[in-house]
């Protein structure tokens, strides 16, 4: 059954909130901005270079501790039961990451794809590669470069940017049970207490 636009949006929002909770329950993430909260929109929204339209991520925020301390991320959340048209969405998402990185590199330390179903399992090991990013950008050439043919787009795509984006990609596949298997509230409290003590 095909979901209506409104239902898709609601399901997306649900996915974003569930992803936020799971990410934050790792204690390494603060997903401060959630689409479609109005104050979050200016932080999560980007403009396609061509065509006058925009796109926005579902989540944005910062990572904590260790090698990720203070780094920023954007996340796309897909609360689908099966692969459905996730592959198409994923391709678009990769092209969006390319655009976002070019526009605001300082905010784009990580791009996370958070879904409840895998997709493209036959090419699973290729999903986070420079090739996948390049291919996605070429597919979205009208929005990215304003050109219609692949050869034209190939002249314009920046290999280095594709590689930078690929190095920032995360693939997170969740399941309902996995959402439960997180640090216990008691132990989470210890970490938070540590942070509070640090706050003086």
């Amino acid at each position: 059954m095909r979901l209506t636009g409104e239902a898709t949006q609601a399901k997306g929002a649900d996915g974003a909130r569930r992803a936020k909770r799971w990410l934050e329950s790792t204690t390494r993430v603060n997903a401060q901005w959630v689409n479609p909260d109005p104050p979050a929109l200016p932080k999560l929204t980007f403009k396609w270079p061509h065509g006058g339209t925009t796109f926005s991520y579902d989540l944005g925020g910062t990572l904590k501790y260790g090698e990720f301390e203070g780094q920023m991320f954007f996340a796309e959340c897909k609360n689908y039961k099966n692969a459905s048209d996730l592959a198409t969405h994923y391709t678009k998402y990769l092209a969006q990451c390319y655009v976002a990185y070019l526009e605001r590199p300082a905010f784009c330390d990580h791009f996370m794809w958070v879904a409840w179903s895998p997709h493209g399992t036959t090419s699973w090991d290729q999903l986070l590669t420079t090739t996948a990013v390049r291919s996605a950008v070429l597919k979205q050439r009208k929005h990215v470069f304003g050109v219609t043919t692949v050869p034209e787009a190939e002249q314009l795509v920046d290999e280095e940017t594709c590689a930078e984006v690929a190095s920032r990609l995360w693939m997170i596949i969740l399941s309902e049970r996995q959402e439960q298997l997180v640090i216990s509230p008691q132990h989470r409290g210890l970490i938070e207490q540590h942070e509070i003590t640090k706050a003086g």
Binding site: S25, N30, V34, P39, M72, E192, E195, I196
Partner: protein
């Protein structure tokens, strides 16, 4: 303060396109707003923002109370409601950064969830309303502190205004023992606060009611019949009350005792200890005091000539520019004499000089093993009489003890251990004890003596007088305010 200052700052900060700048601006504005709401709270800011589990701020108070504050983007009340159930901590304070619309159909859900989570949900508008209302209103100061520590339920701007109005009227009503507004305030406070905070603020309300000479058992609600404002309630006032209005301190301190004062933690707000004692000098009784050279390791005495009251290590102290006196209800309450101190009196000439304004009944002098006690059963001893007797003892004669008459009873000043004591079973006022004993025990210069007497001056007031004090919880701008 302009209208909606914090709400505007928070809204502008929220929509800043830079995520980091946005968080910084919003948290900075909320931190200032929390401080304005309750300046007694210590505000600890964490690195988190709008985190599901971790607080944005932790508020702590001198009495060990603590509350976690969670900021929420509150356009979607269903999401806020869901998140409330995930907060691990009981009794959180949740601030929805965008005030909810009163006709939002999800408001009821949020109210229910707030109750289940034992939380308070409020917004910058509501807090700003409380901040604007508190100026010059001691009751609202207490209310704001109580809400910050233990407010519960949904507190919108409208509810905050209604609540502060009711509390204001209740405190004004209690001054005149007016049952109906007092009852409304008791009920509103009980509904809006968790039990410890509701009890404390209602106990203050009861003390004000009692200050009007109304019977305690007629106080609405569930009156505390222990007979006096207990130490916990007094400590609450000392820690959180923000008023220099002595009539307020007078009203709550009519039954004040030295042991009660000594148990207060004066470090939290020493100014309030001073106000409380000063305002009640006409009723506080004390039968013992002693001059201390170096009290409890305080190396320097007050810089000011104006003596002040403090509590240290469960002792009530009265300290001026060059002296410290500890006060006890009885002599047994005083610290024992400092070890190594010699037992010596003061020269007779010196004593006569110090005693020139004192109504002396009896003076004991010695020279070696010879002791003379001068007494005048019919009235006061004059200096000539004392000097005449001293001359019989010899040039090294010293005064060891003197008994003097104060307004509320006889006081013995002992120069060997630098104590002043009232007669057993006497009802000597603290102020009388000190104004009689200290000028004998301590050498004041003219300026110091003037400041000392001024600090201990009081007018005897009756219960009716207390009720008639210009003591008004209403705002000066309100029509009909005194």
């Amino acid at each position: 303060m302009g209208d909606l200052q914090f709400t505007a700052q928070i809204q502008e900060g929220l929509f800043d396109p830079s995520p980091r700048e946005s968080v910084f601006r919003v948290k900075n504005a909320v931190s200032k707003e929390l401080f304005e709401l309750d300046p007694t709270a210590c505000i600890h800011q964490t690195d988190y923002f709008n985190h599901t589990f971790a607080p944005d701020f932790v508020l702590t108070w001198p009495d060990q109370a603590e509350r976690h504050v969670f900021l929420r983007l509150s356009h979607n009340l269903v999401a806020v409601t869901d998140d409330l159930t995930l907060i691990d901590r009981k009794n959180p304070l949740v601030i929805g950064l965008t005030p909810p619309s009163l006709d939002d159909p999800d408001l009821d859900l949020l109210t229910e969830a707030t109750s289940s989570a034992e939380a308070m949900f409020t917004d910058p508008d509501a807090l700003e309303s409380l901040i604007q209302t508190k100026k010059g209103r001691p009751a609202i100061n207490l209310l704001n502190n109580a809400l910050a520590q233990g407010g519960r339920g949904l507190l919108t701007r409208e509810r905050a205004k209604t609540l502060s109005d009711i509390v204001e009227k209740g405190f004004s009503g209690a001054v005149e023992a007016d049952f109906s507004p007092t009852l409304d305030a008791v009920n509103a406070l009980t509904d809006s606060l968790y039990a410890p905070q509701a009890w404390r603020i209602n106990r203050v309300l009861q003390a004000i009611w009692e200050g009007s000479a109304a019977p305690t058992d007629l106080f609405p609600g569930d009156p505390d019949l222990s007979g006096q404002l207990n130490v916990e309630a007094l400590q609450y006032l000392i820690s959180y009350m923000d008023t220099d209005d002595l009539s307020f301190w007078r009203r709550v301190g009519r039954n004040l005792t030295v042991p009660q004062i000594s148990r207060l933690n004066g470090r939290t707000n020493s100014q309030n200890i001073n106000r409380l004692v000063q305002a009640n000098l006409d009723v506080i009784k004390a039968r013992a005091c002693s001059v201390i050279e170096d009290p409890f390791g305080i190396d320097s005495v007050s810089d000011s000539h104006e003596p002040t009251w403090t509590v240290r290590d469960e002792r009530l102290l009265f300290s001026g520019a060059d002296f410290h006196v500890q006060v006890g209800e009885t002599k047994a309450d005083l610290l024992s004499k400092e070890p190594g101190r010699e037992d010596y009196g003061i020269s007779v000439n010196y004593f006569v000089e110090r005693a020139h304004e004192t109504n002396l009944n009896e003076v004991t002098m010695r020279d070696g093993r010879d002791v003379i006690t001068a007494k005048n059963e019919d009235g006061e001893l004059d200096s000539d009489h004392i000097l005449g007797l001293a001359s019989q003892l010899g040039p090294s004669a010293e005064v060891t003890e003197a008994v003097a008459q104060s307004s509320s009873g006889r006081v013995t000043a002992n120069f060997l251990n630098l104590t002043g004591t009232g007669q057993t079973r006497s009802n000597i006022l603290l102020a009388d004890l000190l104004t009689t004993a200290l000028p004998l025990l301590h050498s004041f210069d003219a300026e110091g003596l003037h400041a000392f007497r001024k600090a201990l001056a009081f007018e005897k007031v009756t219960t009716q007088d207390v009720a008639l004090f210009d003591f008004d919880f209403r705002h000066p701008d309100d029509s009909g305010a005194k």
